[in-house]
Symmetry: C2
Subunit: 188 residues, 2 copies
Amino acid sequence: MREVEAKIVLSDCTLLEAVEDRVKRLGGVLRGEVYEKDLYFQHPCRDFAETDEALRLREEGGRCTLTYKGPKEGGRVKSRLELNVEVGDCDAAKGLLERLGFKPVAVVAKKRRYYLLGDVEVALDNVEGLGCFVEVESKRGREEDVLEAVRMLGLDRFPSTTKSYLELLLEKMGSGFRVRGGEASKGG
Amino acid sequence: MREVEAKIVLSDCTLLEAVEDRVKRLGGVLRGEVYEKDLYFQHPCRDFAETDEALRLREEGGRCTLTYKGPKEGGRVKSRLELNVEVGDCDAAKGLLERLGFKPVAVVAKKRRYYLLGDVEVALDNVEGLGCFVEVESKRGREEDVLEAVRMLGLDRFPSTTKSYLELLLEKMGSGFRVRGGEASKGG
């Protein structure tokens, strides 16, 4: 329900392998490798850039999940409400959302290998058009678990960001999309 | 995708049995008996009473379906766009929709026995707080199939309505909800 995570920016995708070795040495267990295609929407009458919310359809391995993310909360790591609903079919859900006035904003696609390491999940992400990142997320919603894992993995010497991939992608595209602390949206 | 149906208003629920006998004599095949609980929503910034649209979460036998209905089109029977998406969990979907600003308007609950009769589906409905109805829907989206089945079943001597159960229920409740040809919504 609550997403509490740190996002580490790797300067180079070849670093992913070293991080993965470290995760394994610390006892991390590979949980899966997935290709996730995320479609983000803008609200019909609420500016998600202002409200710092997000609505996303995620397609992965033939499954589709609709996710709402609430505004980011204060703290040293990224923390926000996250509500997930499985849906039967991403295309049908997209069509229905569009009828309700939600507008597709951008697609974020990534290859992710994720490990369970104690009480945190460590995701090794290669994001199309953006580069490589490590996300460390607490399964118990505890900020201290995230910070400890980041330290143990030696990731505290890399820069981190509280921005979402959507936000980073739209920034990089230098599009007409406005970005304001949270998710991004088409500028009015 | 397109809902094309006639809704017959029975003056008395005891008439359901006679209609069912007739459906069976004509070769109708019972497809199921269900208890459907439908929760209707109002749009965060669009007046569904004005636009004649509807958004519904239907719970039935542990399954949940999200449905969008478009404005009713002209014709002798009720015809409108209908988009359905299966969702994993009605409570989770309701929570997510509410976060997006959709507001629950009313619940329509009914017991339905439905038959397949040639190219039409005949539903025998007992709607809580409203009474009994027969819905005849074309599986091929053809108005003439609906009209023929209504005639064959001897239902053309009963009144019919193009109003939805939601609309009929809100009218009966005499609530502060405004009703305008289509679905209903809370008056401003």
